[in-house]
Every structure is written in C-alpha cells, then in structure tokens.
C-alpha cells in the first residue's frame, strides 16, 4: 500500500458561530507520527473532530485533502472508508450492539458486497488484537463502550484502530485518564501500527505519551493555530519548561481561543 498524505490548508472551524480554529496548516504523510500539543482550550480536539466531520463543527474556510480526495466533501462514513480514523476522546456508548458485531459491520462496510470477511478470519484477527491490548475475551460480547471505564474505552478505540487499519489516524487525547500500565498497552498498540503506509496525528497535552511513542514532528497549538513546530525534542522541552516560553517568544498573553494577542 502506497503512503498517503493528509493535507490541511488554511482551516477555519466554528462551533455554534464561534470560530475555534483560525487558519491551520498541517501535512501528515504515511510513515510519520505527528503530535499536536498545547494547553486546554486551544482548539486541539476541534481539529480532530473537524477532520472526521463531527456534526457540530462547521468548516468556514480552508481545505482538507487525503491524497487527491476532498475530505470536506465527504460524509463521515466516506471519510472513514477513504482511510481516515479518529480515536475519540469521549467515545459514544451504543447499547444492545456488541463490540464484535460493530467491528464486523465496520470492516464489512469497507469491503464489497459478497466479499465480507469470514467469521473465522474475523474472530482470529479480533482475538489477536485483543490479546495485544490485554483485553479480556468478554469485551467482544459486551455492548459497545457501555459501562466501560475510561481506560477500557481508550483501549477499545485502539482496538478499532488496529482492526480497521486506516491510512491516517488521529488520536484525540488517547492518553487522558490512563494509568501508566494502560498507557504502555495503548502505546504498544499504536507502535505496532507503525509502518511506511500509516500516518498518525496524536493530540495530547501531556508529554508522557510521547515517551512511549516517539513522534517525528511536534506542533504546538495556541489560539486556534499551530504556533510552533519542531522535532521530538520540542515535546521534551515543553515537558521541562511548560508553555510559557513559547507564549513569551510569540507575545501571547492568553493562549486560549478568542483571546487574541
């Protein structure tokens, strides 16, 4: 599979009439892992939701292309079928639908009618991935995210990532609420996905996750834009020194959206 490119240009996103993202540019290629960091309220999760097509977010300007395809023209399910994936910060619970049935529907949605994955093959793959993530067998038959703890939900997001094998994945605060063991498990899952044809955007405000998943590029978001980019060392500096030095450097008083310098 050839490497894909997700190209975001001059993206502006509003929610309920309020602009949150104000001209954001970012390019992610297959084989690369990017991290977007930044304090709360700077538009990080909005970026993730906008890429996937969350119904509440309105794109007012700019473009998002996956290779040559205009992502913003696509329905949410078409985006997924084109190769995008979003591990959500707050995954929905769906009562009455088992994890296994849901995953099979999702896999088969990507395949032609008549070419559905065989049950045996599906179960084998599911068992394998669940074992990698230290998930008990019972998770296959539990209702989708219903009654899952925060950590279980995050693991379940990564399970879906591994089962669906997207071209480009966005992980929205996949580390929040995880203890160190769960963090290691989740990181192991993401690292297992690492290859030339898989691109990933990790959104986090803790450097901690990046100790386990080394990013190729690190970006800092403030006031709805990327204000600084660098390599893995940038994340380490943020961990050591916080964000104030960037604010100082750029003359930003309040980094949250709506508080212009």
């Amino acid at each position: 599979m050839a490497a894909s490119t997700l190209k975001i240009e001059n993206l502006h996103v509003s929610i309920e009439g309020k602009e949150i993202i104000k001209g954001l540019n970012l390019e992610i290629n297959g084989g690369e892992i990017h991290a977007v960091m930044g304090p709360n309220g700077t538009g990080k999760s909005t970026l993730a939701s906008a890429i996937m097509g969350h119904p509440k977010y309105e794109i007012t300007e700019g473009s998002v292309f996956l290779d040559n395809e205009d992502v913003l023209e696509m329905e949410v399910d078409e985006r997924a079928k084109a190769g995008l994936f979003l591990a959500m910060q707050y995954p929905s619970e769906v009562s009455g639908v088992t994890n296994a049935d849901f995953l099979r529907s999702a896999i088969n949605a990507r395949r032609e009618e008549g070419d559905e994955i065989s049950l045996m093959k599906f179960i084998k793959k599911l068992d394998g991935k669940m074992a990698e993530l230290d998930m008990g067998e019972e998770f296959a038959q539990r209702y989708l995210n219903e009654g899952f703890s925060g950590g279980e939900k995050k693991r379940n997001e990564i399970l879906q990532l591994m089962m669906l094998e997207p071209k480009i994945a966005v992980l929205d605060e996949i580390d929040s609420g995880l203890d160190i063991d769960a963090l290691k498990v989740v990181s192991k899952g993401v690292n297992a996905m690492r290859n030339e044809s898989f691109g990933c955007l990790i959104i986090t405000h803790y450097q901690r996750l990046l100790n386990y998943i080394t990013p190729d590029k690190v970006h800092v978001m403030m006031q709805g834009r990327i204000v600084k980019s660098g390599g893995a060392e940038l994340a380490q500096r943020l961990e050591a020194e916080g964000y104030d030095w960037i604010k100082e450097e750029l003359g930003i008083k309040d980094e949250t959206v709506g508080q212009e310098a």
Binding site: M52, H54, P55, V94, V97, A106, A109, Y143
Partner: protein, 435 residues
C-alpha cells in the same frame, strides 16, 4: 367531518351468518344482542390518540380461504412463520379467517387438550366456550368495537388445557389475511386450568398497502391457580389495516402470565394489553417491542391491575418511531386496596429516529394500598447524533448506523422474549422495517 362508525350489517345478515357456521343458539343470540348494543355504545377513547377519522367500517366480512392439502401449499413467507419444530407439532393456520390447517398431537389430545379454531369449538364444545366467551375477562359492551367484535366474529382459536397438563412445545396459530380487503374479527380463548402450563404463539400477517380493512382482535386468557401461560404474538398487518386489539388475562392464585408482544403492524393501531392479578401471589410479566414507520398512528396501553396480595407485575415496553410515525405509550400499574405486599414495576422507552416522528410515554401508577412497592421509569428521546457520528466514523453508513441503533435499542426486550420463535421473527420483522 367524522367518519360513520356504524357497521353495515343487519340482524338478518348476522342470523344467517351464525346459522351458516352452525353455531349454538346462545352464540347467535349473543351476536344479535351485540349488534344491537353496538349501535348505541360509544367508540373507545384511547388516551391522546384521535381515532375518529380511522377506518372501522370498510372491509369484507365473509371471505373464503382456499383449502390447502399440506403446509407446502402455503406461500414461502407464510410458511416461514411456522416455527421449524412446529411442522409436525401443534399448529393452526387461518387463511382469510378460514381455518385451513389444523394439527394437534395425539399425546395432547389424549390428555384432554383442546386446540381448535373458534368455529369448530363453538360447534363441538359449545358449553365450554360459552363459559368463557366474553364473560369474566372481556365484556361485549365495553365499547362499540367490542360489541362489533362479538357480532361479527369470523376467526379465532380455542385452547383448553386441563388441570395438571403441562405442554412443553409452543402451540402456534397463524392468521394469514391473504385478501387485503378481508376484515378480521379474531377471538382467542385460552383456558389454562389449575397447575397446567402452556405457551401460545400467534402471528398476524397481511399484505396490500393501499387497500383498507379492519382487524378487531380479542384474546381472553384464563390462568388458573398455579397455572402458567406464556403468550407470544407477532402482529404484522399491512398499512391499510386499522387494528383494534385487546389482549387480556385474569390470573388466579399463584398463577403466572408472560406476554411477549412484537407489535409490528404498519397501519393505525390501538392496542391494549391488560392483566388482572386476581389471586394472591399471582404474577404478570409483559414485554412489548414496536416500530412505527411511515405516517402510522398507534396507541399502546399496557396495564397490570393488582387485586391479590403479594402479586407482582412487570411491564417493559420499547418503541422506535421512524419517519413521521406517532405513538402514545400508556403504562398503567394499578394496585387495588387490599393488594398488600404487591409489587408493580414498569419501564417504557421510546426512541425517535428523526424530527417528524412522535412518541409519548405516560407512566401511570395508581395505588390504593399503603403496603406495596411500585416503580416506574420512562424515557422519550431522539436518536443521538453523536452516536450516529461515532458509528459512521468507522465507515458504517448512516442507514446501517440507524439499523444498529434500532436493533440495540430493542435488543434488551427482544432478547428477553420468552419464546424463541417470537424472538427470531421479531428480529426479522425489525430488519424489514429498518431497511
């Protein structure tokens, strides 16, 4: 303008019809009296649903159903309704109200079980039928439609289970309205004598979306002391059929009734499911699933009346409303004075799939006794757009996402339906309605 709800049948017609069916005199008299009463009785008034413009008069009353020589003669979709283990079991098939297939194992016959169509029962077991026909459970003069039902009865089943007889396999009755204009006035009587047990499953099926007809259905269930009746139904009548259905049970001491109702009609429907827990320690469990679609209007009342001490009733209703369908769900738990230590629980959940769909849940607890337990939970909500987004973000189409959510919403009830055949059929009909 209100539609005329008087039926166009006179005394002569009813008399001749009863004679043609070789009914006992008491039945002919009962029909005539009912016809007379129907002229002055008021229409039923379901809470919050206007039925004054619904069709209750346009239908054909006496439609012949062609005989079949074996189940193989049935069209595939009808034959599919016959549970697999039923092909050699206990089965009654009606075609346009005419009984065309009837089978009861010798073993059950020898134990004194009667399972036959209502016409044959009236001919062969007239006295027994008279004892139970619209006497204690239902009354002829409850409203105009119950009277019309008695006057025009043209179909039904009589199931009698003697004392101490326990029937393991479900008994099934199939009501297939092949002619879309054929009106159905179906009367089921189930008598489970003391210490007996039986499972009865009924399927209603019709076609024809634009042809008007009427179904006026009554089921009367007598549950004796320490007897157990499990009653399953899959209603699947077409869009043109207006349905008025009453399913009601009286339960004696330590008796138990389980209702498993998949109410999947496509036409306007008023349904009442009632249990009177008369004896001490009696028990009722009533589960209903329904999907409304198109522009249909429905009214469901599920109610349990506690008369006996230590009686226990559980109501569970899950309804999905699609398109511009509307439905009212009334859950009634009534604990009468003296029904000490009784417990009544009810849950109603309604899910609306879009802006135009309407659903309303009315939990009603009426308690005239201090020493009881009672509880209710009701929720009415629109499908969560974020939930749809979540499913779609994995590549699942909007339609498939809705399908999963509907199945998931109904699953807690469907999975608990006590009869496998009803469970399976409920899933199939659900599938047909969500795609």
């Amino acid at each position: 303008m209100s539609v005329d709800t008087k039926i166009a049948f006179d005394q002569e017609y009813i008399k001749a019809y009863s004679e043609k069916r070789q009914e006992p005199k008491w039945m002919a008299a009962l029909r005539l009296k009912a016809l007379e009463k129907s002229e002055n009785l008021p229409m039923p008034k379901p809470d919050k649903t206007k039925i004054d413009k619904w069709n209750f008069t346009s239908f054909k009353h006496d439609v012949a159903g062609e005989a079949i020589s074996s189940l193989e003669d049935l069209p595939e979709d009808v034959r599919d309704l016959v549970a697999k283990d039923q092909e050699s079991g206990n089965l009654l098939v009606h075609r346009n109200s005419t009984p065309v297939f009837s089978q009861l194992s010798n073993e059950l016959k020898e134990q004194g079980v009667i399972f036959t169509d209502i016409q044959t029962a009236l001919q062969n077991h007239g006295d027994l039928v008279e004892k139970y026909f619209m006497k204690d459970v239902m009354k002829v003069d409850e409203n105009r439609l119950t009277a019309v039902h008695a006057a025009l009865l043209n179909s039904g089943t009589f199931l009698y289970v003697p004392r101490n007889v326990e029937i393991e396999v479900p008994i099934q009755a199939l009501y297939w309205q092949e002619d879309p204009e054929a009106g159905l006035f179906n009367h089921v009587i189930i008598v489970a004598e003391d210490n007996s047990s039986v499972t009865y499953v009924e399927n209603f099926l019709s076609y024809g979306h634009d042809v008007e007809s009427v179904a006026n259905i009554i089921a009367e269930v007598h549950v004796g002391q320490n007897a157990r009746v499990t009653f399953g139904s899959v209603d699947n009548l077409a869009k043109g059929v207006t349905t008025y259905v009453n399913r009601r049970a009286n339960v004696a001491r330590d008796g138990k009734v389980d209702w498993a109702l998949a109410q999947m009609n496509d036409g306007n429907t008023v349904s009442t499911n009632t249990t009177h827990l008369i004896g001490d320690g009696s028990y009722a469990d009533s589960k209903t699933v329904t999907i409304g679609r198109g522009s249909q209007s429905q009214n469901f009342t599920n109610q349990i009346f506690h008369h006996g001490q230590n009686s226990e009733g559980v109501l569970l209703v899950h309804g999905v409303q699609k398109d511009s369908a509307s439905a009212i769900f009334n859950g009634v738990t009534k604990i009468e004075h003296g029904a000490k230590k009784s417990n009544g629980e009810q849950t109603q959940r309604v899910l609306m799939m879009n802006e135009k769909a309407r659903g309303d849940a009315n939990p009603i607890l009426l308690i005239d006794e201090d020493d009881v337990m009672a509880g209710h939970a009701a929720s009415v909500g629109k499908v969560d757009p974020v939930q749809l987004y979540y499913l779609q973000s994995r590549g699942i189409s909007r339609q498939e996402a809705e399908r999963l959510i509907i199945h998931g919403f109904l699953a807690p009830v469907i999975n608990e339906l006590p009869i496998e055949g009803v469970r399976k059929r409920a899933v199939e009909v659900t599938e047909g309605k969500v795609n």
